[in-house]
Protein backbone atom coordinates (compact mmCIF):
# COMPACT_ATOMS: atom_id res chain seq x y z
CA UNK A 1 0.00 0.00 0.00
CA UNK A 2 1.23 3.43 -0.83
CA UNK A 3 1.67 5.32 2.36
CA UNK A 4 1.49 9.03 2.77
CA UNK A 5 5.06 8.81 3.98
CA UNK A 6 6.36 7.72 0.61
CA UNK A 7 4.65 10.67 -1.01
CA UNK A 8 6.18 12.95 1.56
CA UNK A 9 9.67 12.14 0.34
CA UNK A 10 8.97 13.95 -2.93
CA UNK A 11 10.17 17.47 -2.86
CA UNK A 12 9.44 20.12 -5.39
CA UNK A 13 10.35 23.68 -6.15
CA UNK A 14 8.43 26.89 -6.71
CA UNK A 15 10.25 29.14 -9.16
CA UNK A 16 9.60 32.84 -8.72
CA UNK A 17 9.26 34.72 -12.02
CA UNK A 18 8.38 37.96 -10.26
CA UNK A 19 8.47 38.71 -6.55
CA UNK A 20 6.46 41.93 -6.86
CA UNK A 21 7.01 44.93 -4.56
CA UNK A 22 7.64 42.81 -1.47
CA UNK A 23 7.10 39.11 -1.01
CA UNK A 24 8.48 37.37 2.06
CA UNK A 25 8.32 33.90 3.58
CA UNK A 26 6.29 33.95 6.79
CA UNK A 27 5.13 31.52 9.41
CA UNK A 28 3.98 32.13 12.98
CA UNK A 29 7.31 33.71 13.93
CA UNK A 30 9.95 33.05 16.55
CA UNK A 31 8.63 33.65 20.07
CA UNK A 32 10.91 33.12 23.05
CA UNK A 33 13.94 35.12 21.90
CA UNK A 34 12.89 38.70 22.66
CA UNK A 35 15.23 38.88 25.68
CA UNK A 36 18.26 38.64 23.37
CA UNK A 37 16.87 41.20 20.94
CA UNK A 38 15.01 38.96 18.49
CA UNK A 39 11.52 40.14 17.54
CA UNK A 40 8.75 37.62 17.13
CA UNK A 41 8.11 38.55 13.47
CA UNK A 42 5.81 36.14 11.56
CA UNK A 43 2.83 36.86 9.32
CA UNK A 44 1.48 40.40 9.67
CA UNK A 45 -2.07 39.03 9.25
CA UNK A 46 -1.79 35.84 11.28
CA UNK A 47 -5.42 34.71 10.88
CA UNK A 48 -5.08 34.94 7.09
CA UNK A 49 -1.94 32.77 7.18
CA UNK A 50 -3.79 30.28 9.38
CA UNK A 51 -6.69 30.09 6.90
CA UNK A 52 -4.37 29.61 3.94
CA UNK A 53 -2.50 26.78 5.66
CA UNK A 54 -5.73 25.09 6.73
CA UNK A 55 -7.10 25.23 3.19
CA UNK A 56 -4.18 23.28 1.72
CA UNK A 57 -3.98 20.86 4.64
CA UNK A 58 -0.79 22.25 6.13
CA UNK A 59 0.09 22.32 9.79
CA UNK A 60 -0.51 25.75 11.33
CA UNK A 61 3.27 26.08 11.70
CA UNK A 62 3.93 25.83 7.95
CA UNK A 63 5.44 28.75 6.09
CA UNK A 64 3.67 30.53 3.23
CA UNK A 65 4.36 33.56 1.05
CA UNK A 66 3.23 36.95 2.31
CA UNK A 67 2.61 38.89 -0.90
CA UNK A 68 2.54 42.64 -0.29
CA UNK A 69 0.23 44.48 -2.72
CA UNK A 70 0.31 41.59 -5.24
CA UNK A 71 2.65 41.23 -8.19
CA UNK A 72 3.78 37.67 -7.60
CA UNK A 73 4.30 35.28 -10.51
CA UNK A 74 5.45 31.75 -9.68
CA UNK A 75 5.65 28.32 -11.32
CA UNK A 76 5.76 24.99 -9.47
CA UNK A 77 7.76 22.11 -10.96
CA UNK A 78 5.27 19.53 -9.66
CA UNK A 79 1.52 19.33 -9.22
CA UNK A 80 0.64 21.32 -6.12
CA UNK A 81 -2.37 22.55 -4.20
CA UNK A 82 -2.43 26.24 -3.33
CA UNK A 83 -4.72 28.71 -1.58
CA UNK A 84 -4.74 32.49 -1.41
CA UNK A 85 -6.16 34.42 1.54
CA UNK A 86 -5.92 37.93 2.97
CA UNK A 87 -5.68 40.90 0.61
CA UNK A 88 -8.09 40.63 -2.31
CA UNK A 89 -5.78 39.96 -5.21
CA UNK A 90 -6.98 38.34 -8.42
CA UNK A 91 -5.47 34.86 -8.51
CA UNK A 92 -5.03 33.03 -11.80
CA UNK A 93 -3.38 29.84 -12.99
CA UNK A 94 -2.22 29.89 -16.61
CA UNK A 95 -4.52 32.86 -17.08
CA UNK A 96 -7.62 31.17 -15.72
CA UNK A 97 -9.09 33.04 -12.74
CA UNK A 98 -9.42 30.86 -9.65
CA UNK A 99 -11.23 31.71 -6.43
CA UNK A 100 -9.84 33.50 -3.42
CA UNK A 101 -10.04 31.62 -0.14
CA UNK A 102 -10.21 28.16 -1.70
CA UNK A 103 -7.87 25.22 -2.22
CA UNK A 104 -6.94 24.97 -5.89
CA UNK A 105 -4.99 22.31 -7.76
CA UNK A 106 -2.17 23.60 -9.97
CA UNK A 107 -0.46 21.32 -12.48
CA UNK A 108 3.32 21.28 -12.76
CA UNK A 109 4.59 24.06 -14.98
CA UNK A 110 1.48 26.24 -14.75
CA UNK A 111 1.92 29.92 -13.99
CA UNK A 112 0.43 31.19 -10.73
CA UNK A 113 -0.24 34.93 -10.76
CA UNK A 114 -1.24 37.04 -7.78
CA UNK A 115 -2.28 40.38 -9.25
CA UNK A 116 -2.43 43.82 -7.61
CA UNK A 117 -4.52 44.02 -4.44
CA UNK A 118 -8.01 45.50 -4.86
CA UNK A 119 -8.54 45.55 -1.10
CA UNK A 120 -6.09 44.99 1.71
CA UNK A 121 -2.29 44.91 1.60
CA UNK A 122 -1.02 41.41 2.34
CA UNK A 123 -2.13 38.22 0.62
CA UNK A 124 -1.02 34.79 1.79
CA UNK A 125 -0.19 32.13 -0.78
CA UNK A 126 0.04 28.76 0.91
CA UNK A 127 1.31 25.71 -0.95
CA UNK A 128 0.58 22.22 0.36
CA UNK A 129 3.70 21.07 2.14
CA UNK A 130 4.75 24.60 2.98
CA UNK A 131 7.70 26.69 1.86
CA UNK A 132 10.66 24.70 3.16
CA UNK A 133 13.47 27.23 3.38
CA UNK A 134 15.93 26.67 6.24
CA UNK A 135 14.46 27.83 9.56
CA UNK A 136 16.38 30.27 11.77
CA UNK A 137 15.74 29.97 15.52
CA UNK A 138 12.76 27.74 14.78
CA UNK A 139 11.05 29.99 12.24
CA UNK A 140 11.13 30.53 8.49
CA UNK A 141 9.90 34.10 8.79
CA UNK A 142 11.70 36.96 7.10
CA UNK A 143 12.23 39.59 9.77
CA UNK A 144 12.67 42.91 7.97
CA UNK A 145 13.91 44.70 11.09
CA UNK A 146 16.47 42.29 12.51
CA UNK A 147 17.47 40.70 9.21
CA UNK A 148 16.84 37.17 10.48
CA UNK A 149 15.31 34.49 8.30
CA UNK A 150 15.38 34.18 4.52
CA UNK A 151 16.00 37.20 2.32
CA UNK A 152 12.95 38.72 0.68
CA UNK A 153 11.75 36.73 -2.31
CA UNK A 154 13.42 37.87 -5.53
CA UNK A 155 12.86 37.22 -9.21
CA UNK A 156 14.43 33.89 -10.17
CA UNK A 157 14.40 32.43 -6.66
CA UNK A 158 13.71 28.70 -6.45
CA UNK A 159 11.88 28.03 -3.20
CA UNK A 160 11.88 24.46 -1.92
CA UNK A 161 8.46 23.09 -1.06
CA UNK A 162 8.00 20.72 1.84
CA UNK A 163 6.77 17.20 1.74
CA UNK A 164 3.14 16.60 0.91
CA UNK A 165 3.12 19.09 -1.92
CA UNK A 166 3.12 16.59 -4.76
CA UNK A 167 1.35 13.45 -5.82
CA UNK A 168 3.28 10.37 -6.87
CA UNK A 169 4.27 10.08 -10.50
CA UNK A 170 5.71 7.30 -12.60
CA UNK A 171 9.20 8.67 -12.49
CA UNK A 172 9.25 9.50 -8.84
CA UNK A 173 11.68 6.68 -8.11
CA UNK A 174 11.75 4.25 -5.25
CA UNK A 175 10.46 5.16 -1.83
CA UNK A 176 12.49 4.84 1.32
CA UNK A 177 12.03 1.07 1.42
CA UNK A 178 13.46 0.70 -2.06
CA UNK A 179 10.16 -0.24 -3.69
CA UNK A 180 9.01 1.81 -6.64
CA UNK A 181 6.39 4.37 -5.81
CA UNK A 182 3.10 2.91 -6.95
CA UNK A 183 0.83 5.07 -9.01
CA UNK A 184 -2.38 3.14 -9.48
CA UNK A 185 -5.57 5.00 -8.89
CA UNK A 186 -6.69 3.32 -5.69
CA UNK A 187 -3.42 4.12 -4.07
CA UNK A 188 -3.46 7.70 -5.23
CA UNK A 189 -6.69 8.17 -3.38
CA UNK A 190 -4.78 7.41 -0.24
CA UNK A 191 -3.17 10.74 -0.76
CA UNK A 192 -5.06 13.96 -0.65
CA UNK A 193 -4.51 14.92 -4.26
CA UNK A 194 -6.67 12.82 -6.55
CA UNK A 195 -6.70 12.65 -10.32
CA UNK A 196 -9.97 14.54 -10.42
CA UNK A 197 -8.58 17.78 -9.17
CA UNK A 198 -5.59 17.79 -11.45
CA UNK A 199 -7.05 16.29 -14.62
CA UNK A 200 -7.61 19.70 -16.07
CA UNK A 201 -7.90 21.33 -19.44
CA UNK A 202 -6.67 24.52 -17.91
CA UNK A 203 -7.27 24.56 -14.23
CA UNK A 204 -10.36 24.34 -12.15
CA UNK A 205 -10.79 24.50 -8.47
CA UNK A 206 -10.58 21.21 -6.71
CA UNK A 207 -11.50 20.74 -3.10
CA UNK A 208 -14.71 22.67 -3.68
CA UNK A 209 -15.72 21.94 -0.12
CA UNK A 210 -12.49 23.37 1.19
CA UNK A 211 -13.35 26.98 0.95
CA UNK A 212 -13.41 29.54 3.72
CA UNK A 213 -15.39 32.70 4.16
CA UNK A 214 -12.79 35.42 4.12
CA UNK A 215 -13.56 38.29 6.49
CA UNK A 216 -14.39 41.55 4.74
CA UNK A 217 -11.53 44.05 4.68
CA UNK A 218 -13.37 47.17 5.86
CA UNK A 219 -12.59 50.51 4.18
CA UNK A 220 -12.76 52.28 7.55
CA UNK A 221 -11.61 49.77 10.15
CA UNK A 222 -12.35 50.16 13.85
CA UNK A 223 -9.74 48.65 16.16
CA UNK A 224 -10.37 47.84 19.80
CA UNK A 225 -7.63 49.16 22.07
CA UNK A 226 -6.67 48.18 25.61
CA UNK A 227 -5.49 51.13 27.73
CA UNK A 228 -1.70 51.09 27.61
CA UNK A 229 0.73 50.99 30.54
CA UNK A 230 1.68 54.63 29.92
CA UNK A 231 -1.74 56.09 29.20
CA UNK A 232 -1.21 58.39 32.18
CA UNK A 233 1.83 59.91 30.49
CA UNK A 234 -0.66 61.74 28.27
CA UNK A 235 -3.16 64.45 29.13
CA UNK A 236 -6.80 63.35 29.47
CA UNK A 237 -7.51 65.51 26.41
CA UNK A 238 -4.87 63.61 24.42
CA UNK A 239 -6.37 60.27 25.44
CA UNK A 240 -9.78 61.51 24.34
CA UNK A 241 -8.31 62.79 21.07
CA UNK A 242 -6.82 59.36 20.39
CA UNK A 243 -10.26 57.78 20.48
CA UNK A 244 -12.29 60.40 18.59
CA UNK A 245 -9.84 61.04 15.77
CA UNK A 246 -9.76 59.32 12.40
CA UNK A 247 -6.11 58.25 12.02
CA UNK A 248 -4.68 58.10 8.51
CA UNK A 249 -2.23 55.30 7.70
CA UNK A 250 0.86 56.91 6.12
CA UNK A 251 3.02 55.57 3.27
CA UNK A 252 5.89 55.12 5.77
CA UNK A 253 4.08 52.06 7.11
CA UNK A 254 5.74 48.66 6.81
CA UNK A 255 6.00 45.32 8.61
CA UNK A 256 7.53 47.08 11.63
CA UNK A 257 4.52 49.29 12.14
CA UNK A 258 1.66 51.30 10.73
CA UNK A 259 2.54 54.99 11.03
CA UNK A 260 -0.53 57.09 11.78
CA UNK A 261 -1.17 60.71 10.92
CA UNK A 262 -3.44 62.88 13.04
CA UNK A 263 -3.46 65.62 15.67
CA UNK A 264 -0.62 65.89 18.23
CA UNK A 265 -1.13 64.04 21.52
CA UNK A 266 0.02 66.19 24.42
CA UNK A 267 2.10 64.56 27.14
CA UNK A 268 1.29 64.94 30.83
CA UNK A 269 4.73 63.54 31.73
CA UNK A 270 7.58 64.96 29.70
CA UNK A 271 10.33 62.69 31.10
CA UNK A 272 12.16 60.29 28.86
CA UNK A 273 10.80 56.77 29.24
CA UNK A 274 13.42 54.18 30.17
CA UNK A 275 13.31 51.48 27.48
CA UNK A 276 10.73 48.77 28.07
CA UNK A 277 9.47 45.66 26.30
CA UNK A 278 7.08 46.08 23.39
CA UNK A 279 4.35 43.91 21.88
CA UNK A 280 2.64 43.78 18.51
CA UNK A 281 -0.37 46.09 18.69
CA UNK A 282 1.36 48.63 20.94
CA UNK A 283 0.54 52.23 20.04
CA UNK A 284 3.85 53.91 20.73
CA UNK A 285 3.82 57.71 20.61
CA UNK A 286 7.08 59.36 19.57
CA UNK A 287 6.94 63.12 18.79
CA UNK A 288 6.53 62.30 15.08
CA UNK A 289 3.15 60.65 15.71
CA UNK A 290 1.71 57.25 16.63
CA UNK A 291 3.29 54.02 15.45
CA UNK A 292 1.10 50.93 15.69
CA UNK A 293 3.58 48.09 16.02
CA UNK A 294 3.12 45.11 13.70
CA UNK A 295 4.96 41.80 13.36
CA UNK A 296 8.57 43.08 12.99
CA UNK A 297 8.42 45.62 15.84
CA UNK A 298 11.52 46.19 17.99
CA UNK A 299 11.61 44.15 21.20
CA UNK A 300 12.10 47.21 23.40
CA UNK A 301 11.23 50.87 22.92
CA UNK A 302 11.69 54.18 24.65
CA UNK A 303 8.45 56.00 23.85
CA UNK A 304 5.32 55.65 25.95
CA UNK A 305 2.61 53.21 24.92
CA UNK A 306 -0.77 54.89 25.21
CA UNK A 307 -2.76 51.80 24.22
CA UNK A 308 -2.48 48.31 22.77
CA UNK A 309 -4.66 47.06 19.92
CA UNK A 310 -6.40 43.79 20.73
CA UNK A 311 -4.64 40.87 18.98
CA UNK A 312 -7.91 39.87 17.30
CA UNK A 313 -8.05 43.27 15.55
CA UNK A 314 -4.39 43.58 14.62
CA UNK A 315 -4.94 42.05 11.20
CA UNK A 316 -7.10 45.08 10.32
CA UNK A 317 -4.03 47.30 10.70
CA UNK A 318 -1.91 44.88 8.66
CA UNK A 319 -4.46 45.08 5.84
CA UNK A 320 -4.90 48.89 5.89
CA UNK A 321 -3.16 50.52 2.90
CA UNK A 322 -1.72 54.04 3.14
CA UNK A 323 -4.53 56.58 3.12
CA UNK A 324 -6.89 54.35 5.11
CA UNK A 325 -8.61 56.20 7.93
CA UNK A 326 -8.84 53.95 10.93
CA UNK A 327 -10.56 54.51 14.23
CA UNK A 328 -9.61 53.33 17.69
CA UNK A 329 -12.12 52.30 20.31
CA UNK A 330 -11.01 52.14 23.94
CA UNK A 331 -11.85 48.96 25.82
CA UNK A 332 -12.55 49.17 29.53
CA UNK A 333 -9.44 48.50 31.59
Amino acid sequence: MLTIRSVLTIRSVLTIRSGGPLTTVQDRGRPGWAHVGVPRSGAADLPALTRANALVGNAASAAALEVTLGGLVAVPDADVVIALTGARCRLSVDGVPVPHGAAVGVPAGAEIRVDAARAGVRAYLAVAGGVAVEPVLGSRSTDTLSGLGPARVRDGDRLPLGSGGARPSDDAGPDASGRPVATDRAEREDTWVSDGELDLDGVRAGFAARQVVEPEIPPEPVLRVHPGPREDWFTPEAVETLYVTGWTVTPQSDRVGARLDGPPLARAVSDELPSEGMVAGALQIPPSGPVLFLADHPVTGGYPVIGVVDPDDLWLAAQAPPGTVLRLRRLDS
Binding site: P31, G32, W33, A34, H35, V36, G37, V38, R40, V136, L137, S146, G147, L148, H226, P227, G228, P229, P274, S275, E276, G277, M278, V279, G281, A282, P298, V299, T300, G301, V305, V308, V309, D310, P311, S333
Partner: protein
Protein backbone atom coordinates in the same frame (compact mmCIF):
# COMPACT_ATOMS: atom_id res chain seq x y z
CA UNK B 1 2.18 46.09 37.45
CA UNK B 2 0.15 47.08 34.41
CA UNK B 3 -1.34 45.40 31.39
CA UNK B 4 0.37 45.69 28.02
CA UNK B 5 -2.65 44.69 25.99
CA UNK B 6 -4.60 41.44 26.20
CA UNK B 7 -1.69 39.03 26.37
CA UNK B 8 1.08 40.77 28.32
CA UNK B 9 1.91 42.22 31.71
CA UNK B 10 4.47 44.93 32.45
CA UNK B 11 6.07 44.62 35.89
CA UNK B 12 8.07 47.45 37.48
CA UNK B 13 11.18 46.27 39.29
CA UNK B 14 14.52 47.56 40.55
CA UNK B 15 16.37 44.61 39.00
CA UNK B 16 14.80 43.50 35.70
CA UNK B 17 17.46 40.89 34.91
CA UNK B 18 17.02 39.17 38.27
CA UNK B 19 13.23 39.20 38.04
CA UNK B 20 13.42 37.85 34.51
CA UNK B 21 15.66 35.02 35.75
CA UNK B 22 13.18 34.24 38.54
CA UNK B 23 10.20 34.15 36.17
CA UNK B 24 12.09 31.86 33.79
CA UNK B 25 13.23 29.67 36.72
CA UNK B 26 9.62 29.14 37.82
CA UNK B 27 8.78 27.78 34.33
CA UNK B 28 5.20 29.04 34.49
CA UNK B 29 2.94 27.64 31.77
CA UNK B 30 1.76 29.85 28.93
CA UNK B 31 4.68 32.26 28.94
CA UNK B 32 6.16 33.01 25.51
CA UNK B 33 8.59 35.87 26.14
CA UNK B 34 10.07 37.52 29.23
CA UNK B 35 11.67 40.80 28.18
CA UNK B 36 13.64 42.95 30.61
CA UNK B 37 13.69 46.70 30.07
CA UNK B 38 15.55 49.38 31.99
CA UNK B 39 13.09 49.31 34.93
CA UNK B 40 10.50 46.75 33.91
CA UNK B 41 9.97 43.16 32.84
CA UNK B 42 7.44 42.44 30.11
CA UNK B 43 5.81 39.02 30.28
CA UNK B 44 4.04 38.00 27.10
CA UNK B 45 1.79 34.95 27.25
CA UNK B 46 -0.16 32.71 24.89
CA UNK B 47 -3.79 33.80 24.37
CA UNK B 48 -5.95 32.88 27.34
CA UNK B 49 -3.00 31.40 29.24
CA UNK B 50 -1.97 34.25 31.53
CA UNK B 51 -0.46 32.88 34.74
CA UNK B 52 -0.93 34.75 38.01
CA UNK B 53 2.04 37.12 38.26
CA UNK B 54 0.94 39.12 41.30
CA UNK B 55 3.83 37.63 43.26
CA UNK B 56 6.26 39.19 40.77
CA UNK B 57 5.24 42.76 41.59
CA UNK B 58 6.19 42.15 45.22
CA UNK B 59 9.27 40.05 44.48
CA UNK B 60 12.57 41.52 45.63
CA UNK B 61 15.91 40.82 43.98
CA UNK B 62 17.50 39.98 47.35
CA UNK B 63 15.27 36.91 47.33
CA UNK B 64 17.28 35.65 44.37
CA UNK B 65 19.04 32.42 45.31
CA UNK B 66 22.25 33.53 43.63
CA UNK B 67 23.54 36.08 41.20
CA UNK B 68 22.06 35.55 37.77
CA UNK B 69 24.03 35.34 34.59
CA UNK B 70 27.55 34.52 33.62
CA UNK B 71 30.87 36.38 33.86
CA UNK B 72 32.38 37.33 30.52
CA UNK B 73 35.47 39.15 29.40
CA UNK B 74 35.56 40.91 26.05
CA UNK B 75 38.90 42.06 24.70
CA UNK B 76 38.89 45.43 22.94
CA UNK B 77 41.34 47.36 20.75
CA UNK B 78 40.81 50.90 21.96
CA UNK B 79 41.25 52.74 18.66
CA UNK B 80 37.73 54.00 17.93
CA UNK B 81 37.16 57.17 15.90
CA UNK B 82 35.43 58.96 18.80
CA UNK B 83 38.03 58.10 21.46
CA UNK B 84 39.48 61.62 21.61
CA UNK B 85 36.06 63.25 21.64
CA UNK B 86 35.02 61.02 24.52
CA UNK B 87 38.25 61.86 26.37
CA UNK B 88 37.57 65.58 25.96
CA UNK B 89 33.95 65.21 27.13
CA UNK B 90 35.06 63.09 30.09
CA UNK B 91 37.84 65.49 31.03
CA UNK B 92 40.59 62.84 30.85
CA UNK B 93 43.13 61.72 28.26
CA UNK B 94 42.73 58.72 25.95
CA UNK B 95 44.48 56.38 28.39
CA UNK B 96 42.09 57.63 31.03
CA UNK B 97 39.12 56.57 28.91
CA UNK B 98 40.63 53.10 28.52
CA UNK B 99 41.35 52.86 32.24
CA UNK B 100 37.80 53.90 33.13
CA UNK B 101 36.16 51.60 30.56
CA UNK B 102 38.22 48.55 31.51
CA UNK B 103 38.01 49.25 35.22
CA UNK B 104 34.28 48.69 35.61
CA UNK B 105 32.09 45.59 35.76
CA UNK B 106 29.02 45.93 33.55
CA UNK B 107 25.68 44.15 33.62
CA UNK B 108 23.61 43.26 30.55
CA UNK B 109 20.44 45.13 31.48
CA UNK B 110 18.30 44.63 28.39
CA UNK B 111 18.44 44.26 24.63
CA UNK B 112 16.50 45.67 21.74
CA UNK B 113 18.55 47.43 19.11
CA UNK B 114 19.46 44.28 17.17
CA UNK B 115 19.73 40.55 17.85
CA UNK B 116 22.58 40.07 20.31
CA UNK B 117 22.88 43.75 21.23
CA UNK B 118 22.99 44.20 25.00
CA UNK B 119 22.64 47.51 26.79
CA UNK B 120 25.35 47.31 29.47
CA UNK B 121 24.93 49.31 32.66
CA UNK B 122 27.68 50.22 35.08
CA UNK B 123 29.45 52.88 33.00
CA UNK B 124 31.70 55.10 35.18
CA UNK B 125 30.17 58.55 35.56
CA UNK B 126 32.77 60.50 33.49
CA UNK B 127 32.06 58.27 30.47
CA UNK B 128 28.32 59.02 30.45
CA UNK B 129 28.64 61.30 27.46
CA UNK B 130 25.95 62.30 24.95
CA UNK B 131 25.30 60.47 21.69
CA UNK B 132 26.97 61.83 18.58
CA UNK B 133 25.06 64.80 17.22
CA UNK B 134 25.05 63.14 13.81
CA UNK B 135 24.55 59.35 13.86
CA UNK B 136 26.69 57.24 11.55
CA UNK B 137 24.87 55.48 8.73
CA UNK B 138 27.11 52.46 9.16
CA UNK B 139 28.87 51.28 12.28
CA UNK B 140 31.11 48.25 11.68
CA UNK B 141 30.50 44.89 13.34
CA UNK B 142 32.32 44.58 16.65
CA UNK B 143 32.43 48.34 17.28
CA UNK B 144 32.45 49.16 21.01
CA UNK B 145 30.44 52.27 21.81
CA UNK B 146 28.96 54.23 24.65
CA UNK B 147 26.38 56.94 25.23
CA UNK B 148 24.32 58.07 28.18
CA UNK B 149 24.12 55.37 30.83
CA UNK B 150 25.13 52.55 28.52
CA UNK B 151 27.99 50.87 26.73
CA UNK B 152 27.77 47.98 24.28
CA UNK B 153 29.10 46.18 21.23
CA UNK B 154 27.45 46.32 17.78
CA UNK B 155 26.75 42.68 16.81
CA UNK B 156 26.52 43.47 13.09
CA UNK B 157 26.99 46.44 10.79
CA UNK B 158 24.19 48.93 11.39
CA UNK B 159 23.48 52.62 11.69
CA UNK B 160 24.28 54.00 15.12
CA UNK B 161 24.68 57.18 17.12
CA UNK B 162 26.90 56.02 19.99
CA UNK B 163 30.45 57.25 20.47
CA UNK B 164 32.82 54.57 19.19
CA UNK B 165 35.87 53.96 21.35
CA UNK B 166 37.13 50.60 20.13
CA UNK B 167 36.54 47.31 18.44
CA UNK B 168 36.42 43.60 19.33
CA UNK B 169 36.72 40.42 17.27
CA UNK B 170 34.39 38.59 19.65
CA UNK B 171 31.25 37.21 17.93
CA UNK B 172 28.23 38.77 19.62
CA UNK B 173 25.57 37.06 17.51
CA UNK B 174 25.45 33.84 15.51
CA UNK B 175 21.94 32.60 14.72
CA UNK B 176 23.30 29.09 14.08
CA UNK B 177 25.04 28.88 17.46
CA UNK B 178 23.52 27.69 20.73
CA UNK B 179 22.99 30.07 22.38
CA UNK B 180 22.87 32.49 19.45
CA UNK B 181 23.65 35.57 21.57
CA UNK B 182 26.90 35.96 23.53
CA UNK B 183 25.19 38.34 25.97
CA UNK B 184 22.02 37.56 27.88
CA UNK B 185 20.29 39.78 30.44
CA UNK B 186 22.00 39.47 33.83
CA UNK B 187 25.42 38.55 32.43
CA UNK B 188 28.33 40.52 33.85
CA UNK B 189 30.92 41.83 31.42
CA UNK B 190 34.47 43.16 31.80
CA UNK B 191 36.39 44.78 28.98
CA UNK B 192 40.11 44.24 28.72
CA UNK B 193 42.62 45.74 26.27
CA UNK B 194 43.98 43.44 23.55
Amino acid sequence: MSRMGRDAELIETSDPAALRAEIVRRALPGIEDVVPGARTVLVRTSPGQAPDLRWAAAWRPDEAPEQVGRELTICVRYDGPDLEDVAALAGVDVDGVVALHTGAVYTVAFTGFAPGFGYLTGLPEPLRVPRRSSPRTRVPVGAVGLAGDFTGVYPRPSPGGWQLIGRTDQTLWDAAADPPALLSPGDRVRFTPC
